[in-house]
């Protein structure tokens, strides 16, 4: 394994608190939940694993065993599922064989398409990068079974990304324009004139 300090982006002299903060920031950034429907889900998972291992290694090195056992479980993937009608499709999606998954899903008759079918179809589209289609399918799955945690979190996840209002900076408010400065100067000049002084000498 590479240098665990390098992976967390901290110096070997960093305090425990600094390491914890660095780990938390990275874990937030690469958390598998952010990437569940992304084409790079497996890459993010690997990255997260690497970060967990690095953190555990540092904790072990510092003989602070209490962290090592909790960390990997607290920031693990939440993609486990209990019962499914399409185990093979889920397996294909996991392996990245999207065309095969799509083929099986398309083979399902119209009347036997349940909420999970729409969810998985959305997943295939999402992994392919067709996020607009994916959103439609996820919404359909959620409408059919609003109580299902998996479908609800998929829709919520996408909703939060589609209403990403804090991404940029506010472009509306400018500090002050050339006009503002001129008006300000003119006002100042009027005031000065009243008091007998002059701020602009030509008028």
């Amino acid at each position: 394994m590479n240098n665990p300090y390098e992976i967390l982006g901290v110096s070997p002299n960093a305090t425990d608190e600094e390491i914890k903060t660095a780990y938390r920031n990275l874990a937030k950034k690469y958390h598998p939940d952010n990437y569940t429907d992304s084409p790079l889900a497996d890459v993010a998972e690997e990255k997260m694993k690497e970060i967990n291992e690095a953190y555990d290694a540092i904790c072990d090195m510092r003989k602070n065993g209490s962290h090592s056992s909790t960390s990997s479980s607290s920031y693990g993937s939440s993609s486990s599922y209990t019962h499914t009608s399409y185990p093979d499709v889920r397996q294909y999606i996991h392996e990245g064989r999207l065309d095969d998954a799509m083929e099986i899903l398309n083979g399902v008759a119209q009347e036997s398409r349940n909420a999970e079918w729409y969810f998985l179809m959305g997943m295939v589209f999402s992994r392919k990068g067709w996020n607009d289609q994916a959103y439609t399918y996820f919404q359909r799955a959620y409408q059919m079974e609003p109580d299902n945690y998996e479908f609800r979190s998929a829709v919520n996840n996408m909703n939060s990304r589609r209403t990403y209002s804090n991404m940029g900076y506010d472009t509306g408010n400018m500090g002050c324009s050339a006009c503002d400065i001129c008006t300000g100067l003119m006002c100042a000049d009027c005031c000065c004139n009243c008091m007998g002084g002059r701020s602009i000498f030509c008028c």
Binding site: K29, Y30, N34, Y35, S38, P39, L40, V43, A44, E46, K47, F125, G129, W130, N131, D132, Q133, Y135, M158, R161, R162, T163, Y164, M167, G168, Y169, T171
Partner: protein, 296 residues
């Protein structure tokens, strides 16, 4: 379809902006060196972003020197002093995309504009031959994009994702070329870097296509041209929100992909473009939807 991916100057550090400027000028100079002095007119921000990405990841550090601009001799500007593959690649992308855009314009434009484009054609096609020889992959990808774009526009059940696919796939291939052409220890360290670059390019290309479609929406509607947002089954007053959501969604995917990449030398510039300049651009383009009457 050009000029959407720039930087947000007010939120960029002075030194980073100077570097960005220098790369912009270097790409301009490279166009002059590889093609012709007139090729410099086709310089654009999107290809500069591509150059910044490559120079950021490359092992070779850039040496900057100060020189004078040939178009504006009174102004001094910084250049990268040595010839690099990154700049050549970005220059090839500039020329090839300009060439295919021209071919497309010749087919689509009214006759008086067509005369102008026809005059440009011999010049661009001679440069295009050079770029084809240098980097055949870039040229092939752009060619493929032009052909499949025509196909999707004629498709009856076309949706946003389908319409954006050709541009997205093109940029995806062009970005994954970085992994092959650039010597980079950052990329070599990670076995997934090609996939990450490819996905980053995919979503960025898709975003460029979508923002261009949003920008042209009222114009296309007036002239009955193809636009993926016109075919949508969404009410007029809901449309702005829908367009914004689809852009946000695509951009956030591009950000997620970029986050997985190891940070390069010019991460500040790329992050500024992704996290600040592009959302700003979205707001700017979408402000058109608030006052549609003016556009008509």
């Amino acid at each position: 379809m050009f000029g959407y991916v720039n930087v947000d100057k007010s939120n960029l550090l002075g030194k980073d902006f100077d570097t960005y400027r220098a790369i912009y000028c270097s790409l301009c100079k490279q166009l002059g060196r590889d093609y012709s002095i007139f090729a410099r007119f086709f310089l654009n921000y999107d290809c500069t972003f591509y150059a910044v990405l490559m120079l950021s990841l490359s092992d070779k550090t850039c040496d900057f020197c100060t020189g004078r601009c040939r178009f504006n001799p009174l102004k001094k500007c910084d250049y990268i002093s040595d010839d690099t593959v990154s700049l050549s690649l970005a220059a090839a992308l500039t020329i090839s995309s300009a060439y295919y855009k021209l071919l497309d314009n010749i087919l689509d434009s009214p006759w008086y504009k067509r005369i102008f484009y026809r005059l440009l054609q011999p010049m661009l096609s001679s440069w295009h031959k050079i770029s084809l020889k240098k980097f055949p992959t870039i040229d092939n990808e752009l060619n493929k994009m032009t052909i499949s774009q025509k196909g999707t526009e004629e498709d009856k059940n076309c949706n946003i994702d389908k319409a954006a696919e050709p541009t997205a796939a093109m940029l995806s291939a062009v970005f994954s070329l970085v992994d092959e052409k650039i010597d980079s220890s950052i990329l070599k360290k990670n076995k997934n870097s090609k996939r990450i670059l490819s996905s980053f390019g995919y979503f960025l290309g898709k975003w460029i296509y979508l923002i261009d479609a949003a920008d042209d929406y009222f114009n296309d509607k007036k002239h009955h041209n193809f636009n993926p947002y016109i075919t949508l089954d969404v009410e007029e007053k809901e449309l702005k929100n829908y367009v914004l959501s689809s852009l946000n969604h695509t951009l956030s995917e591009a950000m997620l992909s970029y986050n997985l990449l190891e940070k390069g030398r010019y991460d500040a510039i790329i992050s500024n473009a992704l996290f600040s300049a592009l959302p700003k651009k979205q707001n700017l383009v979408l402000s058109k939807f608030d006052k549609p009457d003016k556009q008509k």
